[in-house]
């Protein structure tokens, strides 16, 4: 095993990943198209997009958990230089190399098992530790995610935990095998705003403490802006803009990213109506010629009839637009 990865390569390298949904009566629909992204060691990377933009499926494909009728038709995904998509048992990667913090915190814990048992389950499954030792590790993990009175609360059941506490427990579960990469799939959607902020702080803190990398999936650009090192913006299955947090916010190039930033509610100004992006995200099976954002784009022009390529402006900053 290579601990450092290949020279110049990140922890996770995804290249040209295309995922399709096979349909019995229709031609296959493209869920993710030519997605490339990179996560370096110790980085928090944001993957942003509306619901249905393909961000969750992109993440799930990495650990071999695509739904039955979806499949990766082209592209590569490498974790520390090792191929994730072809050959190799994805079950061996799960939890140990790449863990996932699931979306729906309130239903992601088994209601009839104690918190401690569930946090310790990856340790049980992957083996190597004695029962006694597992109990200690579980206590440490729960303390690490700031569950008050952790050792005593390990015997509680999920319904005795608040939503935020359940999400903390799930985070502890993901951390249990000390995986180098953690996929956080909208870990805060089911929680209220103040709890959201706490979870975000926790993720930042854990990155600093353990050196783990996070791929943080969200639809909330404002949220991600506060703590991600780099950001990928996804629209209708494509990466439309990517770059450092600074590049995305201060030198926004793609009209969709601009619209997303504009649509975030602000306290100052207090407009009558919140700005929205007109239209709706195209469905995966819809045939679209040219740019996929064209129909909703305020800046669309003649060139948009042809699909734009992902262009790199300066260094890391890339975008998919003719007019940017």
């Amino acid at each position: 095993m290579t601990d450092h990865g290949h020279a110049g390569e990140g922890l996770l390298e995804v290249e040209g990943l295309t995922i399709v949904l096979r349909h019995r009566h229709r031609p296959p629909a493209t869920i993710a198209r030519d997605v490339s992204l990179r996560v370096n060691a110790g980085e928090i990377v944001g993957l942003i997009g509306e619901s249905g933009s393909g961000k969750t499926m992109t993440a799930k494909s990495l650990i071999g958990l695509l739904p039955d009728r979806m499949e990766v038709v082209s592209g590569h995904a490498r974790f520390r230089g090792r191929d994730l998509l072809h050959g190799g048992d994805p079950a061996r990667v799960r939890g140990r190399d790449i863990a996932l913090i699931p979306q729906d915190a309130l239903h992601a814990l088994n209601p009839v098992k104690t918190i401690g048992w569930q946090v310790g389950e990856p340790l049980q499954v992957h083996g190597g530790l004695r029962q006694r030792r597992i109990a200690t590790v579980v206590g440490d993990l729960l303390e690490r995610v700031h569950i008050p009175d952790a050792r005593r609360r390990a015997v509680d059941y999920p319904h005795q935990f608040s939503g935020g506490m359940q999400q903390r427990a799930l985070t502890a579960m993901a951390l249990s095998m000390e995986p180098p990469l953690i996929l956080a799939d909208e870990p805060t959607t089911a929680l209220d705003v103040t709890i959201q902020a706490e979870i975000i702080d926790l993720i930042g803190e854990l990155r600093d403490a353990t050196g783990a990398s996070f791929l943080f999936i969200s639809h909330d650009l404002a949220l991600v802006s506060s703590f991600c090192d780099r950001i990928y913006v996804m629209y209708a299955g494509e990466i439309v803009e990517s770059g450092t947090r600074d590049a995305i916010f201060s030198h926004t190039r793609h009209p969709y990213t601009r619209a997303l930033i504009g649509a975030a509610p602000r306290l100052a100004g207090n407009p009558e109506r919140l700005p929205t992006i007109p239209g709706r995200i195209p469905q995966p099976h819809e045939e679209i010629r040219g740019c996929r954002f064209r129909e909703r784009c305020p800046e669309a022009g003649a060139a948009c009839g042809e699909a734009p390529r992902l262009d790199t402006a300066d260094g890391d900053h890339a975008f998919r637009c003719w007019y940017a």
Partner: protein, 275 residues
């Protein structure tokens, strides 16, 4: 904190559990607590009404009814336990397999279960007994087979809802394998409803065994069983109603308290009702 005296939650169990325990105790200690030998004939006291010597009276052969009722509880309890064990283990296995594999496996298994379900329980029991031969052992087997579809349906329904829950995917994401997923994640969620069903099925098994014995297919005289005692008493219902009434009352109390216990268990076993 769990309040152990939470009446709404534990009330039913608090009331019915002692009754059920009493029935089990009577069965376990039958030879010790029964005042007479249940097989001992005494023609001098035949058809005697309840009194000081024979608390519940005697039957047409002068046997002590109380002793016979107590001994008969053994047959009922054993048949109930074994039949429920057969039904529950068979049903849970089939139900989990059907829910987990779905598709053709699910269809074949559940259609077969539905065929078994089509027959009225007592008729199916009679048919099975007719083929297996009349004995207590075969009664357990027949009643157990009758219970399999019920447990299978229940288990499948519960397992299917569990199967769609995000926590299973969460477990898979952390590397939990398929076998462990079924035994450690799905089964514990199924156990609660299955236990409730088991308590109800137990009372039904007791009832069915009595019905079979009443028809002469279960426990064979002189072996006492509530069913064959009621049948015996039929001929003397005018002169000596206690011959039938005593085992009938025992049957009623047992079945009734087991049914209520089932309801009570549901309140206790659902962890979401913990405060």
């Amino acid at each position: 904190m769990i309040r152990w005296l939470n009446w709404r939650r534990y009330g039913l169990v608090t009331v019915t559990l002692p009754v059920v325990a009493l029935v089990f105790l009577a069965a376990a200690l039958a030879p010790v607590i029964a005042p007479y030998d249940p097989f001992e004939l005494d023609v001098l006291v035949m058809l005697q009404g309840p009194g000081a010597d024979h608390l519940l009276g005697t039957d047409e052969l002068g046997r002590d009814i109380l002793s016979r009722v107590i001994h008969a509880s053994r047959v009922s309890i054993v048949v109930g336990l074994v039949a429920v064990a057969i039904g529950a283990s068979g049903g849970v296995l089939i139900g989990v397999l059907a829910a987990h594999f779905g598709g053709a496996v699910d269809s074949v298994l559940m259609r077969f279960m539905e065929i078994v379900f089509c027959f009225p329980a007592i008729l199916l029991a009679v048919i099975l007994m007719a083929n297996l031969g009349t004995s207590v052992l075969n009664a357990m087997l027949a009643i157990g087979i009758i219970f399999i579809p019920g447990f299978a349906r229940l288990t499948r329904a519960v397992a299917q809802t569990v199967q769609r829950q995000p926590f299973l995917e969460a477990a898979i994401c952390l590397g939990v394998g398929p076998l462990r997923l079924v035994t450690r994640e799905i089964l514990p969620n199924v156990i609660g409803p299955v236990l409730v069903e088991a308590a109800v099925a137990f009372s039904y098994a007791v009832l069915l065994e009595s019905a079979l014995s009443f028809l002469g297919l279960g426990a064979q005289p002189p072996e006492p069983s509530w069913g064959n005692m009621i049948n015996t008493g039929r001929g003397f219902i005018d002169q000596a109603p206690w011959i039938s009434l005593a085992p009938g009352a025992a049957l009623f109390v047992t079945v009734f308290s087991f049914n209520l216990l089932g309801d009570g268990l549901r309140d206790v076993l659902d962890p979401r009702l913990h405060d």
